[in-house]
């Protein structure tokens, strides 16, 4: 809900907000420039009477003296019937030059507050300030939620590149934007007189003044009593007007000064409303607070970046969410389908179920498990279709499901059924589906069908489950799911390095380039000097379709698109269709593949150390992270292979990274040598350093086989027990990430 609000409001207002922000940022320079040009004497140096005396020497026809918030002294004068304004040196009273307000600044100011459209424009600007406030607040809420609470708000960020930029910059500027928005709303409210500004409280014009010859301006006690730093404005009496008086305005109040005896008349101190108004005005404009003005200006400059990254984030999210045709509203639907998917294949099954249920005459609502509503009023059926990630963990579209489930209002009329997707080769087959099934039952939901599982996207098993669902509904339900072949691109092998033949673990590092596309798109890419690769980062996945198969196999990427090549590290498995195919490729051979983003698995931003742990081909993405560690943050690599003579993957590269500082330390363990060891042994052997690094905020990224990952988690739990930490806690803080296969 909060996210939709944030996206929708942001998208609608983005362009106008950018106009406001850029004009505001330029205007923010004014107070600082003013201050640069002003001589500001220290408090207590001289009074307004002294200043007026100095001014009188150079400007006999002075009519008004003004001190701007930044300290510039302006004198309005009449010389032989010609009026003018000069900036004046307060120390001498001598003119510095004529004061010519910049027409550009005036134009910009009108653009900023009214889009040059006067009253309707001012209303729009006020509404935009309100929108900015909503964006800032919803942004803070989303950020806090995403980082797991206020305590972690300064913590490392994850997500795609644009998401990270959005959150990273947003976190820095949000308070500035909040202040600008709040003060802007106030100023708009004052303009439209929804709020008082205290300006109506003027002192009464004095009815009685002393008679006699006017005294010299330097001799007036009321002016002698005001220090220059409290001074605002002094308006001289009109020549030839007998009842005329000086009007004096200071930071504390306003009043009149008798020109004969110099008494302060009808003085009215500023009330709370007036001074509050003034402060808010200064907080918004930075007048007299040039440093704040510059800070707010810098924050405002981020708005274009925030608009672009925000829009891109929205677009990415929208694109990654499979389109469900004819989706009903959550509260109107008879059947709810919740989907937990890591790489979208489960969404395909969900769409088939959605269509079949719709054809059977039901109103169906399909959503990600993370988008669990607070209730489903009309629901008769609740179907949960979910994959499992890693070692029984929820897939990315279901990560918040278990935490949110207790808030879902139990509907006694609803029956649920959970269908798990997975691969029986893995020990925690459909582990998360089991958890979800148990959790729903524990919350008091009625289980209509026992948990079913689908092994390796089996169409037959899905159809069987569909028959059971049909029986339940009392309708004929035929679920015929044919996996949709994802849209792929063609890549060509340009380099391969082979390892591990001697230790029965043939492993290759394969580098591909994009095959140039035909037509306009391809020509345009070449013209722009692009490498033609789709956008991806190290740690994302590439789905490869071996010839004759519609089911992709996923490999972790060891390069980012900016590197100019797509690199993976593949071990040949005896019965692996895809790995056999890849190992059989010669340079020049082609593959069909697509990119699957996997933003959770990558080093977080920030200066904290990164501990990379892997075994076998798990080194691929880890080596990629190190290659791209050009900022030379501390990175420690623990890796396990079989024999340094045969399968020391990336050995030459790692040596180079150690030499140039991209890699801080390398700890390699080999199992098939004398006194062989596994990587978890290396980790245990380094317990004190490990403890120290993690206690200091280090992040752990684990990549490799499931068994290894389990061993590492046990080893770290052991190591961290003495400092009261464990892997579970680190996972919750987002400091422990696994990419296992």
């Amino acid at each position: 809900m909060m996210r939709q609000l944030h996206s929708l409001v942001g998208l609608v207002a983005a362009v106008l907000l950018v106009v406001l922000a850029i004009s505001g940022a330029i205007l923010s320079l004014d107070p600082a420039l003013d201050r640069l040009g002003a001589t500001v004497p220290a408090r207590g140096q001289f009074s307004v009477a002294t200043l007026a005396g100095r001014v009188a020497q150079h400007y006999p026809g002075a009519e008004q003296i003004q001190r701007t918030p930044s300290g510039t002294i302006l004198v309005y004068y009449d010389r032989d019937g010609q009026v003018g304004v000069d900036r004046v040196d307060p120390l001498t009273g001598q003119g510095i030059g004529p004061h010519v307000p910049s027409a550009f600044s005036r134009w910009l100011k009108n653009l900023h507050r009214s889009f040059l459209l006067d009253t309707p424009g001012r209303a729009a600007a006020g509404i935009l300030a309100l929108i900015m406030l909503m964006l800032a607040i919803s942004g803070i809420v989303l950020l806090v939620k995403r980082l797991g609470g206020w305590r972690h708000v300064a913590g490392p960020l994850r997500g795609t590149l644009v998401q990270r930029w959005h959150a990273y910059v947003g976190r820095i500027v949000v308070l500035g934007l909040l202040l600008s928005a709040l003060t802007g709303i106030y100023m708009s409210a004052v303009t439209f007189e929804f709020m008082p500004d205290g300006a109506q409280n003027d002192p009464d014009f004095p009815s009685v003044v002393a008679t006699g010859p006017a005294a010299a301006v330097t001799a007036l006690p009321a002016l002698q009593a005001v220090d220059l730093s409290d001074f605002r404005e002094l308006v001289y009496p009109y020549p030839g007007d007998a009842s005329a008086v000086y009007s004096l305005s200071t930071t504390q109040g306003d009043g009149y000064v008798d020109p004969v005896n110099g008494a302060l008349l009808s003085y009215l101190p500023h009330d709370g409303i007036g001074s509050t108004h003034e402060w808010i005005h200064r907080l918004h404009t930075g007048e007299g607070l040039w440093w704040l003005g510059l800070l707010l200006g810098l924050c405002a400059l981020s708005v274009p970046l925030m608009s672009v990254t925000g829009t891109l984030t929205w677009w990415q999210r929208r694109r990654s969410m499979p389109r469900i045709a004819g989706n009903s509203g959550a509260q109107a639907a008879d059947a709810i389908i919740l989907v937990g998917s890591e790489n979208n294949s489960t969404w395909g099954f969900a769409a088939t179920l959605h269509d079949a249920l719709t054809q059977a005459g039901l109103r169906v609502h399909t959503a990600a498990m993370n988008q669990l509503a607070s209730e489903y009023r009309q629901a008769k059926w609740l179907f949960v279709l979910t994959a499992t990630y890693g070692d029984g963990d929820p897939p990315s579209s279901a990560q918040r499901f278990l935490a949110r489930l207790p808030r879902l209002k139990v509907n006694p009329d609803t029956g649920f059924a959970v269908l798990g997707f997975g691969d029986r080769q893995f020990p925690q087959f459909c582990g998360f589906a089991r958890d979800a099934d148990a959790a729903l039952h524990a919350q008091g939901w009625h289980r209509s069908l026992d948990l079913e599982t689908i092994d390796r996207q089996s169409g037959q098993a899905f159809t069987r489950w569909g028959n059971a669902v049909g029986k339940l509904l009392g309708r004929d339900l035929s679920l015929l799911h044919t996996p949709v072949r994802p849209r792929t691109r063609s890549f060509e092998l340009i380099e391969r390095v082979d390892y591990g033949q001697e230790v029965q673990a043939p492993t290759s590092i394969l580098r591909f380039r994009a095959v140039a596309r035909e037509g306009v798109a391809g020509r345009l890419t070449r013209l722009l000097g692009g490498n033609g690769l789709p956008r991806f980062e190290v740690g994302d996945l590439v789905g490869i379709l071996p010839p004759g198969s519609a089911i992709p196999r996923f490999y972790s990427l060891a390069s980012k698109s900016g590197d100019g090549f797509l690199e993976i590290c593949v071990r040949k498995l005896p019965d692996g269709v895809c790995s056999q195919f890849l190992h059989g490729l010669d340079v020049g051979g082609r593959i069909d593949a697509f990119i699957q983003l996997h933003p959770d698995f990558r080093p977080a931003s920030g200066k904290a150390a990164v501990i990379l742990i892997g075994s076998g081909t798990g080194i691929g993405p880890l080596a990629g992270f190190i290659r791209n560690n050009t900022g030379k943050h501390p990175m420690y690599l623990y890796w396990g292979g079989r024999d340094p003579a045969s399968d020391f993957l990336y050995e030459p590269e790692l040596g180079a990274y150690l030499a140039d500082g991209r890699l801080t330390a390398l700890h390699a363990a080999f199992s098939r040598v004398k006194d062989g060891a596994y990587v978890q042994d290396k980790v245990l052997g380094d317990a004190p350093q490990m403890r120290e690094l993690i206690a200091a905020g280090a992040q752990v990224l684990v990549c490799g086989s499931r068994g290894m990952a389990k061993g590492i988690a046990q080893a770290l739990d052991e190591i961290l027990a003495t400092v009261g930490l464990d892997v579970q806690t680190l996972k919750k803080q987002g400091r422990y990430r696994e990419d296992v296969f």
Binding site: R106, N110, E193
Partner: protein, 156 residues
């Protein structure tokens, strides 16, 4: 502006008894290129000592800025009844304001004068920047202003 003038005349016609001895006076106010936002103007009649008598015209729609038209504000008390039906939009830099108002015969050739107060946002106020004796002889003769007004001419 013709429309305003016409409607003013209409108001005048309806209020005929009160304005029995009045005549239409056309005020032409030519502004300087002072290079700022639209100017607020108060055109009003005072006696020779500057005592406020009557408002002829007020330019500028936001009443909260009227206090910057200082002398007029003080004299009229900014009471809406004082400028009811004789106000309009602010006048831009270099523009000309031309309005026709009813002026009582008793104020003409009787030692009264027309004064103009002006104010522009972020620029100084100019109270009484124009002072023109309200006489039949003075009609048609432009009087220069000290501030934002280049000249004021009235014809009757």
């Amino acid at each position: 502006m013709n429309k305003t003038a016409a409607s003013l005349l209409l108001v005048g016609a309806l209020a005929l008894p009160a304005l029995a001895d009045a005549r239409p006076v056309t005020l032409t106010t030519q502004m300087k290129d002072y290079g700022g936002d639209g100017a607020y103007l108060a055109i009003y009649v005072t006696d020779a000592k500057g005592q406020y008598k009557k408002t002829l015209w007020v330019s500028g729609k936001k009443a909260k800025y009227y206090k910057n038209l200082r002398d007029w504000a003080r004299g009229s008390g900014m009471k809406a009844s004082e400028f009811d039906g004789v106000s309009g939009a602010s006048v831009g830099s270099g523009r000309t304001l031309k309005v026709t108002v009813e002026v009582a015969d008793a104020l003409i050739d009787a030692g009264y004068e027309i004064r103009v107060d002006s104010a522009v946002e972020d620029m100084r106020d100019h109270p009484g920047e124009v002072r023109a004796p309200l006489t039949t002889a003075g009609a048609g003769k432009p009087v220069a202003g000290r501030g934002y007004v280049k000249s004021l001419t009235y014809t009757m």
